[in-house]
Symmetry: C2
Subunit: 306 residues, 2 copies
């Protein structure tokens, strides 16, 4: 029996008669193929990637397992429809905290259709994609058995400025997340979730090294999922920190050039997370350059007037 996934934090949802992904009880995730080119592009990517011998194992582990396509009763009642069959990434996880981060300051390929580019550019400009090189697409943070998850509004999350994004990345690994954004996050689980040889930072750095070299694929509008289990961390156990890449409907041929757009955004995210590990307290940024520019202007006007 298929049902809507419990821990989906972004994307279309299979609720209220709408079309969305489904999961079964054996760890498989059924993603309806989007009707336009996107569906076939995503199948093409998984088909190419899963058989690509140039991708090393320590990198392919960051991608969901791919089990082909299958006709499945769609969640919107439209009957049997083709679905991608993938690994259910939160299967077997208990109360996972999950963050979906769309990587890249640009979510569109140069060769994409003009109207699609226009739509994306607007979203990139209105979200943190353009300034930060990534944007939060959605998240859920486990608070406690009583209060469950904190799952802020997606629209709000996507348009946050740098300082608020930094705060959410701290909140994600803090023990005092109840009452959401009110308290100063204690970053209690930062070192065990983000740090260490199996932590999220270490995984992101492995991914980065691959992106510095690979020229096979360019990933537009693709997300990295960050996942861990807070209750395990609270009990002094490994929190099963894990990153996975998802959403490949806009993957293009690399044609011998690295994916500088994805890589730049990934490096920016890495810097945010590194800073939480090395200096968890907030730091102020100054407006020095603009102050100097004003002083220069005044002094130049004086010189020219002499």
């Amino acid at each position: 029996m298929l049902k809507a996934p419990d821990h989906q934090v972004a994307g279309h949802k299979a609720l209220g008669g709408k079309l969305g992904p489904l999961v079964d009880d054996s760890g498989r995730f059924y993603k309806p193929l989007q009707g336009d080119e996107r569906g076939t592009k995503e199948v093409a990517f998984y088909t190419s990637f899963s058989s690509n011998i140039k991708v090393p194992d320590h990198i392919s582990r960051f991608f969901p397992e791919f089990y082909g396509t299958q006709l499945v009763e769609a969640s919107d009642g439209s009957g049997m429809q083709p679905h991608l069959v993938l690994q259910d990434l939160t299967f077997n996880r208990v109360n996972p905290s999950v963050m979906d981060i769309k990587i890249g300051s640009r979510t569109w390929a140069p060769e994409a259709p003009a109207d699609y580019k226009q739509k994306c550019m607007k979203k990139d400009r209105e979200s943190s994609s353009l300034p930060l090189g990534f944007r939060l697409s959605g998240l859920q943070i486990f608070e406690s058995g009583e209060t469950g998850f904190w799952k802020p509004d997606k629209k709000w999350v996507q348009s946050l400025p740098a300082d608020e994004v930094r705060l959410l990345l701290k909140k994600f690994v803090s023990s005092n997340t109840s009452k959401a954004m009110d308290s100063k996050p204690d970053c209690a689980f930062a070192s065990i979730v983000y740090g260490g040889s199996t932590g999220i930072l270490s995984q992101l750095l492995e991914l980065k090294a691959w992106f510095e070299d690979q020229t096979i694929y360019h990933f537009y509008s693709c997300s990295v999922l960050l996942m861990f289990e807070k209750e395990l961390a609270s009990n002094g156990k490994s929190p099963r920190s894990e990153i996975k890449l998802i959403d490949f409907a806009h993957v293009y041929e690399g044609r011998g050039v690295i994916d500088h757009n994805f890589l730049g955004g990934l490096c920016s995210l890495i810097k945010f997370i590194s800073e939480i590990l090395t200096s968890p307290e907030d730091f102020a940024t100054d407006g020095l350059l603009e102050d100097i520019q004003i002083a220069v202007l005044v002094s130049l006007e004086r010189v020219v007037a002499l």
Copy 2:
């Protein structure tokens, strides 16, 4: 006595009564302040950067020395005008080969004026900036004492596709550059110019490490100059390979975020140069992903029709 520089490969030139930079015979370079905001922005950057104690010496050596501003007789006959006084980067060099590479897939800051952004976007799209993350702005390659330099047309250079950019980066370090693009470049000087502990790749990697960390400045429309002397290389001497960053009229505050746009483009250039060192022969890129997509489409249509 000031005169137009001999080895300028990009930007406005002080020839034919036009406004452009000048050099003296003591190693100084006089750059007229652009009348609009750009002039004061560039002075503000040099003032801030040259006094910034957070910038380590092994990084500040990649920037021209800054000697303040000075009123100088402008090259266009408009009288005494304020100029930036900088280090003349090709002073004391004999027949330098020079390449000016504008870094970043985007040459505009998110906070730049709308009309300026529109102009830049068009140029980024029509040049290799958008696909490659950088574009060649101009170059001169020394051929021989008889034929002098090969200095291709700037307009042509700026719009080259990836394969031609790769070819020019090979040509730059080849001994058989006469007759320009006709012969297959032999990459005779690749290992001595690009490679080694003091070569260009090594310097670019040092710069990259700084960009992975620094959140002080964002450099838009800034260029990296690659320079060396072919005659020294031919005689088995060190070719004085050097990189320098130039053009800071569009530097903005980093505000705690890395310059992911510059970093991505720099990594792309690094990959091009690394490949010339490791596999100088051309390699073919395949259109595998698109072929698979067509196959997927056909098979899905068949499945749904059943």
